[in-house]
C-alpha cells in the first residue's frame, strides 16, 4: 500500500514537470506573452522589456526558457503581472481561498444530496420515485451550467425583486460593494447562486453513479447471503450495500474534480465571483503570462493529486484489488 503510494507520488513529479512544460509551450505559442506585454505597456523601455523577458524565461529556446522560468518559480521569485505590475501571489491566494470555499461548499452539498438521492432511487427500482430521480438527474446532466446560471440570474436578479419586492440572493461578488470585514450570512448569501449552479451538476452526476452502483450491488449474491443470515434489512443495506456501492463512486469522485473546476469557472464568471475561474478568464483574455503560469501549475498539480487519490483510495477501499 505504502509502496504503491510512494511509487505513484514519485511518478507524479515528472508528470507535473512534463505537463507544466507543455502548458508553458502552449501558452507561449497561444497567448504570445511578449506581444501582450507590449500591448498593455506600449511605452515600456528597452530595459523593462528585457527584464520582463528574463524574469519570465521567455528566451527563444523553449527548453532553456522553461527551466529558467521554473527556477524563478521554485525560488518564489515570481514575475509581476503585465497589467499594473501587481504581485501575483496575493491575488492568486485570494482567488484560491474564494474558490476553495465555493468549491468545497458546492461539492459537499452536491455529493451528499446526490448520494442520498441515488440511494433513495435505487432502493425501489422502477418505482415512481426512481423515475422521478432519473428524470431529474437526466435534466441536470443535459442542461449546461451556464444556462442554469443565466436563468438563475434572470430570475433572481430581475424578476424576484419585481415579484416579491426584495432580492433574495445577490447575483454578483462575494460581498456587496464597499463591504469590509467578515460576515458569514452575507457571504453565504452571495455564494448561494454560484454554488447551486455547480451543485446541480454534481447532484445529477452523483445520483446517477450511486443509483447504478447500488443497483449492481443489490443484485449480487452476497446481499442475498446477508439477508438469509437474518441480519436486519437496515444492516444489510448499510453494511453490505452502501459500503460496497461507494467504492466505484469514490473513485469517480476524485476524478471528477476537472469537471467541478470547469463548472466553477463558468459559474464564477457569470456571477462575477472573484475566484480562480474569474482569475483565469481575465488573465487569459489579457494574455497575462505571469498570472497564468502559477494558476496552471496549481490546477495541473491538483488534477494529478486527485488522480492519485482516486487510485490509492480505490485500492484502499477494495481489498480485492492487488497492487503493483
Amino acid at each position: 500500500m505504502l509502496r504503491f503510494t510512494i511509487r505513484r507520488l514519485a511518478w507524479a513529479v515528472p508528470t507535473l514537470l512534463l505537463v507544466t512544460f507543455l502548458v508553458y509551450v502552449a501558452l507561449r505559442l497561444g497567448t504570445d506573452p511578449l506581444q501582450s506585454y507590449l500591448r498593455t505597456n506600449p511605452r515600456a523601455s528597452k530595459e523593462k522589456i528585457e527584464q520582463y523577458k528574463s524574469v519570465n524565461g521567455l528566451s527563444s529556446n523553449y527548453v532553456l526558457g522553461y527551466f529558467h522560468w521554473l527556477k524563478n518559480f521554485v525560488t518564489f521569485n515570481w514575475p509581476r503581472s503585465i497589467k499594473g505590475s501587481r504581485e501575483v501571489w496575493p491575488e492568486l491566494k485570494d482567488a484560491m481561498a474564494n474558490t476553495i470555499r465555493l468549491g468545497t461548499f458546492a461539492t459537499v452539498v452536491g455529493v451528499s444530496i446526490g448520494l442520498f438521492v441515488g440511494m433513495f432511487a435505487a432502493l425501489k427500482p422502477g418505482s415512481r420515485r426512481d423515475v422521478a430521480v432519473n428524470t431529474g438527474a437526466f435534466l441536470g446532466v443535459s442542461i449546461p451550467p451556464y444556462i442554469t446560471a443565466v436563468l438563475f440570474q434572470l430570475v433572481f436578479a430581475v424578476y424576484w425583486s419585481r415579484w416579491f419586492g426584495k432580492t433574495l440572493f445577490p447575483t454578483s461578488g462575494v460581498y456587496p460593494p464597499g463591504h469590509i470585514g467578515f460576515n458569514l450570512v452575507l457571504m453565504l448569501k452571495h455564494m448561494a447562486l454560484p454554488m447551486m449552479v455547480v451543485a446541480i451538476q454534481v447532484i445529477a452526476t452523483y445520483s446517477r453513479y450511486m443509483r447504478s452502483s447500488l443497483l449492481d450491488v443489490m443484485n449480487s449474491d452476497f446481499m442475498r447471503t446477508a439477508r438469509s443470515k437474518g441480519i436486519s434489512e437496515r444492516q444489510v443495506l448499510l453494511k453490505h450495500g452502501v459500503r460496497n456501492a461507494l467504492i466505484p463512486v469514490v473513485t469517480i469522485a476524485a476524478l471528477d474534480i476537472g469537471s467541478i473546476i470547469g463548472g466553477l469557472i463558468i459559474s464564477e464568471n457569470i456571477f462575477a465571483y472573484p475566484g480562480m475561474g474569474l482569475y483565469f478568464l481575465d488573465s487569459f483574455t489579457n494574455g497575462d503570462f505571469p498570472l497564468l503560469m502559477p494558476w496552471m501549475v496549481l490546477v495541473v498539480a491538483s488534477t494529478l493529486m486527485f488522480n492519485l487519490i482516486a487510485d490509492v483510495s480505490y485500492a484502499f477501499l477494495d481489498p480485492r484489488i492487488r497492487l503493483d
Binding site: A26, L27, G30, F138, P144, V150, R162, G258
Partner: protein, 304 residues
C-alpha cells in the same frame, strides 16, 4: 416441428429502441429541426442579419412581427435561432463523426496491441479527462490558432471548421476508452481465437470482428459526442471564443452568450428561447443515446 419465435439481434435492438417512447419522440423532434434547418431560407422569416422593421426595432418583446422578439439591433430572434441551430448541428455532427473515427482507431489499436502503447495512450487519456475541459479547450484553441501551417489546413481561429477540428481533437478520448474496453473484453473470446487459428491477420480481426461487435457502444458514444460538441461549442462561444462567421451568422452559443448581457435588464426572451433550444437539443440527443444503450446492450434482457 415446433416453431421458435426467433428474431435477429438487429431487429431486437430496433424493437427495443422503438419501445423507448422518449427516444422516438426525440427522433421526431430532431427530424423536424433538421428539416427546418435545411429549409432555413424558407422556414426562417427573416435573414440572419436582417432587422424586422425600421427603427425603433431593438428589444421588441415577442409579438406577431417577431415571434421570439428581437435582439439588440432589431434582428428577429426566431430566424437567428434557426440559423444558429444549423451551425450548431453541423458542428455537432462533424465533430462527433471525426472524433469517433479517431477514437475507434486509437482504442482498437491500444486494446489489441496492449503493452507500452496502450499504457501511454491511456495515461494521456486519463490526464486529459481529468483536466478541466474548458481550460484545456481555451489554451489549445489559442495554441492551435497560432501555428501557421495548421491554420492553413483547419482554418482561422474563428471559423466553424477550426472549431470542429478543435473539438474533435478533444472528443476522441472518451470513445477510445470505450472501444479499448470492448476490444479487451472481446479479444479473448473463442471466435477471435478461431479467426486467428484460420490465419486471419490482425487488421482483418479488428475490422471484421472487433469493431462490428462493438458497434453498440460506439453508436452510443457517437450520440453523446454530438451533445458534447454542441455544448462545448456553446461554452466557447458563450465566453466569446467561439466561431465568428462573418455577416452576423450565428450559433446557439453566440445566442446564449448574448443572453448574458441581456438578462440584467429583463429582456427575458433573449435568454429563454436560445437556452430552451439548446436544452431541447441536448435532451433529445441524450434520450436517443440512452435508448441506444438500452437497445444494444444484450446483457440488459428485460424479458420481452
Amino acid at each position: 416441428m415446433t416453431e421458435f419465435a426467433t428474431i435477429s439481434p438487429k431487429r431486437m435492438a430496433m424493437r427495443r429502441f422503438l419501445s423507448h417512447k422518449a427516444a422516438v419522440g426525440s427522433c421526431v423532434l430532431l427530424a423536424i429541426m433538421v428539416v427546418a434547418v435545411i429549409l432555413a431560407p424558407i422556414s426562417a422569416r427573416y435573414g440572419v442579419n436582417e432587422s424586422v422593421r425600421k427603427p425603433p426595432n431593438t428589444f421588441l418583446p415577442p409579438q406577431k412581427l417577431a415571434w421570439f422578439g428581437t435582439d439588440d439591433i432589431g434582428r428577429d430572434l426566431y430566424s437567428r435561432l434557426i440559423y444558429g441551430i444549423r451551425v450548431s448541428l453541423i458542428i455537432g455532427l462533424f465533430t462527433a463523426v471525426i472524433s469517433t473515427v479517431i477514437g475507434c482507431v486509437v482504442g482498437a489499436v491500444a486494446g489489441f496491441r496492449g503493452g507500452r502503447f496502450d499504457d501511454v495512450v491511456m495515461r494521456v487519456t486519463d490526464l486529459f479527462l481529468a483536466f478541466p475541459f474548458l481550460v484545456a479547450l481555451l489554451v489549445i484553441r489559442n495554441t492551435m490558432g497560432s501555428i501557421g501551417w495548421l491554420t492553413a489546413i483547419i482554418g482561422d481561429k474563428s471559423s466553424v471548421r477550426f472549431i470542429v477540428f478543435l473539438l474533435a481533437f478533444f472528443g476522441w478520448m472518451g470513445v477510445a476508452r470505450i472501444v479499448r474496453g470492448q476490444v479487451l473484453a472481446l479479444k479473448e473470446r473463442e471466435f477471435i481465437e478461431a479467426a486467428r487459428a484460420v490465419g486471419a491477420t490482425r487488421r482483418y480481426i479488428v475490422r471484421h470482428h472487433l469493431l462490428p461487435n462493438s458497434i453498440g457502444p460506439i453508436m452510443v458514444s457517437l450520440s453523446f459526442a454530438v451533445v458534447g460538441a454542441i455544448t462545448a461549442e456553446s461554452t466557447l462561444a458563450f465566453f466569446g471564443y467561439g466561431p465568428q462567421a462573418g455577416d452576423g451568422a450565428t450559433s446557439l452559443g453566440i445566442l446564449v452568450g448574448a443572453a448574458k448581457g441581456a438578462v440584467q435588464t429583463g429582456y427575458w426572451w433573449i435568454a429563454v428561447f436560445p437556452c430552451f433550444a439548446l436544452v431541447l437539443i441536448s435532451l433529445a440527443i441524450n434520450f436517443i443515446g440512452d435508448a441506444l444503450r438500452d437497445a444494444t446492450d444484450p446483457r440488459l434482457d428485460r424479458g420481452e
